[in-house]
């Protein structure tokens, strides 16, 4: 699951949970049964878990691109004048 997918996954689960919470309270109110209320919440949790726990393809549409070794070397070479003079200085690499 990529980073965008992780955020989306969490939001989907929160929405499903909130909706089932409201539905559970209303169902319990209308049918005057607390057990029904908890069954509705449980159904919501099951649906949310099924949607959000497995690594579905829809959460993998924004793959991370890693810098290649050549690009990294070029970056470091370009950054040498700036770090010159610092003993054991950190090499600042973008990306």
């Amino acid at each position: 699951m990529d980073l965008v997918g992780q955020e989306r996954c969490e939001h989907i689960f929160q929405s499903v949970l909130l909706a089932s919470l409201v539905a559970a309270f209303c169902a319990g109110w209308v049918f005057e049964s607390i057990s029904l209320s908890y069954m509705v919440l449980g159904a919501g949790v099951a649906v949310g878990g099924l949607l959000c726990t497995p690594n579905w393809g829809m959460f993998n549409r924004h793959p991370l691109t890693f810098a290649s070794a050549e690009a990294l070397e070029a970056d470091m070479a370009a950054a040498v004048p700036q770090v010159k003079g610092r003993a054991g200085g950190k090499s600042s690499t973008s990306r």
Partner: protein
């Protein structure tokens, strides 16, 4: 959220939070949103006797009540039982300033039995004073209830009925 394990862990902690929220909503919501019973009346129908008990050295009165109460509004999602009871309160006892005695009660376990109609029902527990203070005492009757919930705490309520003044002399 990067692996199945962490997702399962985070989602289950959200779910447990929702479980708790639902419990709080059920415990608080229906009690706040439903009105208290209004259609309630209780009064003394007749007095069998007001007498002095020499052995116990106290006054005893035996009453019949008319009770007309619609307690259906107390029943909702979060109501298991309702305990309805009538209290008699009087003030001019010789030994205590404020006295409150339960004279009648009933367990109500559902909406179908929540309409209480009692015509000239003799009290279950006679009205006994601590001393000899019942003669001429003004008695204030209350129909009270305590609602036993499935989740949350007991709630209490009551409506005052017609007051009644005891005879100024013993009837037997």
């Amino acid at each position: 959220m990067h692996s199945v394990g962490t997702r399962a862990s985070i989602l289950s902690s959200y779910s447990i939070g929702a479980l708790f929220l639902l419990a709080v909503a059920i415990a608080v919501g229906p009690a706040l949103l439903t009105p208290d019973p209004r259609d309630v009346s209780v009064r003394v129908n007749s007095l069998a006797f007001l007498r002095y008990l020499p052995d116990e050295q106290c006054d005893q009165a035996y009453l019949a009540l008319d009770i007309d109460a619609d307690l259906r509004p107390l029943f909702h999602t979060n109501t298991a039982h309702v305990y309805a009871y009538v209290t008699a309160a009087y003030a001019n006892s010789t030994s205590h300033v404020r006295n409150e005695v339960v004279v009648w009660d009933r367990m109500i376990s559902g909406r179908d039995t929540a309409v209480v109609k009692v015509a000239k029902g003799w009290v279950k527990y006679s009205l006994k004073d601590w001393g000899v203070g019942l003669r001429g005492a003004p008695v204030r009757l209350w129909l009270r209830w305590s609602r036993m919930p499935r989740l949350g705490g007991l709630t209490y309520g009551g409506v005052e009925g017609e007051s009644y003044t005891m005879p100024s002399e013993y009837t037997q």
